[in-house]
């Protein structure tokens, strides 16, 4: 007797096969629930907006009344039919963006413009227009930058004019004195003009070297009828600083405001000796 193993074995397994339809249905239900949950999660904001819009346009609110609530079922139905007014988080989000924009415009932009103007004012040589891209500038910012640039240009022009006038005045005074008093007076005026520059140089040397320059100290005995502005004459025309003045002996102790070379010292003594009010000149030395 021949037996078919394949057919018998397959029949055995199929007879023993369990009924798992319940497991299939359970998995199908779980899958559909998961899909529904994912769909709800994907559209929360849109759903909220639509519900709010419907609530605003369709006031289909069924009022709750005691007459309808005679039976628990009626009351429950009324409660269920009542449109749910959700506290949507969309409302503050709608206002948050414009409020942030207003705050930005009102606070941050003026601060930025102010700081930018301060930078441009502190550095007028910098090109105001090139410091900030034109595309980022508002009309007000552009106007401010141009105004600062114009102010800086005017200030520079004024400075050039004033320095030019000073030089002209100095030259004119030199020429006038040259024409009136001769060559010697011209040298004195040059000496008198130099203290300003000399002072600056002395200050620079003092700052850099830490030593005071040595100046010439002289004792001048003058006549008793010197003019009242003789001190100013000594300071301005001869570049001398008065240390002491003895009224009894009419002696001035003066020193040069800057260091003089031997030739300048001789020229200074010569100029002083030619002054009609100076009777005697004594060199005390250098300090």
């Amino acid at each position: 007797m021949s037996r078919d193993f394949e057919s018998e074995y397959q029949q055995l397994i199929r007879d023993e096969a369990p009924d798992f339809w319940g497991a299939i249905e359970a998995k199908l239900d779980a899958q559909e629930k998961a899909k529904t949950f994912e769909t709800v999660l994907e559209q929360p904001a849109v759903t909220a907006v639509q519900e709010n819009t419907a609530a605003a346009t369709e006031p289909a609110v069924i009022p709750f009344s005691a007459a309808q609530a005679d039976t628990p079922a009626a009351a429950e139905e009324t409660m269920l039919n009542r449109p749910v007014r959700k506290k949507s988080p969309v409302r503050w989000q709608l206002f948050a963006l414009p409020a942030a924009a207003v705050l930005c415009a009102a606070l941050i932009l003026p601060v930025m413009l102010h700081s930018r103007n301060a930078m441009e004012t502190s550095a007028p040589d910098m090109a105001a227009g090139s410091a900030v891209p034109q595309s980022l500038m508002t009309d007000g910012a552009l106007y401010t930058a141009e105004a600062n640039f114009e102010e800086a240009a005017e200030a520079a022009t004024d400075a050039e004019e004033s320095s030019g006038e000073r030089q002209k005045n100095a030259k004119n005074s030199t020429r006038e004195e040259t024409t009136t008093d001769g060559a010697v007076v011209e040298e004195e005026s040059v000496v008198a003009l130099q203290p300003a520059a000399g002072e600056e140089k002395d200050d620079e040397n003092a700052e850099t070297d830490g030593e005071l320059p040595s100046s010439l100290i002289l004792n001048l005995r003058v006549s008793g009828d010197v003019p009242e502005d003789f001190k100013e004459i000594l300071q301005e025309e001869y570049g001398l600083e008065i240390i002491t003045y003895d009224k009894k002996t009419h002696e001035y102790s003066v020193r040069s405001v800057r260091e003089l070379n031997p030739e300048e010292e001789e020229a200074l003594e010569k100029a002083l000796s030619e002054n009609p009010y100076v009777e005697e000149i004594r060199r005390e030395g250098k300090e």
Partner: protein, 184 residues
């Protein structure tokens, strides 16, 4: 169920009709279970994988192309899912600890005539299967129930094809001694 009816059921399933899935289930669940069981050889796992199999058929209903032979289509899905489950189980077993059993050496060494050499004509199919070694039964299940080729069995189990054929021949030898001459 012919191909046309199966295609109609698949179309209905794509539209959400569970009755169509129920019809396919009634027709093929035992056969598909046997295919899955042939690979896994564990009833609980075979039941779980079979349930997942019908869930996959439900989900892929909209992508089904009619005229391709629905039995082959179902058998391929069942086999692939069972093989995936088997490989996953093997990884878990390997993580628990390496398998020290060497079936090939056991097969070659166990060439002496045993009780299976005796001709027992009156054994039932269950008694005949109990005479097979687990490794032999594994190959027989895949070959007979799951209708897999030797190459597929070799690839699935990760053993040489010669070993597969060796085990299968040894199983046939024992089954023939039990009176089974056909169906191998």
């Amino acid at each position: 169920m012919n191909d046309e009816r199966f295609a109609e059921c698949m179309k209905a399933m794509s539209e959400g009709n569970r009755d169509a899935l129920r019809e396919i289930y009634e027709e093929y669940h035992s056969w598909l279970y046997s295919v899955v069981y042939g690979v896994l050889q564990q009833k609980e796992r075979a039941e779980d994988v079979s349930a997942d199999l019908f869930l996959r058929i439900w989900n892929s209903a909209s992508n089904f192309k009619a005229g391709t032979g629905h039995r082959g289509y179902l058998a391929t899905i069942a086999r692939n899912m069972a093989i995936d489950e088997l490989r996953k189980r093997k990884r878990e077993v390997y993580l628990d600890g390496p398998d020290t059993e060497d079936d090939t050496e056991t097969d070659i060494a166990d060439d002496t005539p045993g009780p299976e050499a005796e001709t027992v004509q009156n054994l039932s199919i269950q008694q005949a299967l109990e005479r097979l070694k687990p490794a032999e039964r594994e190959v027989v299940n895949m070959k007979v129930l799951s209708e897999m080729t030797f190459q597929e069995i070799s690839d699935t189990l990760g053993i040489p094809m010669g070993t597969v054929t060796w085990r299968y021949q040894a199983a046939i030898k024992k089954l023939r001694s039990c009176g089974y001459e056909q169906g191998f």
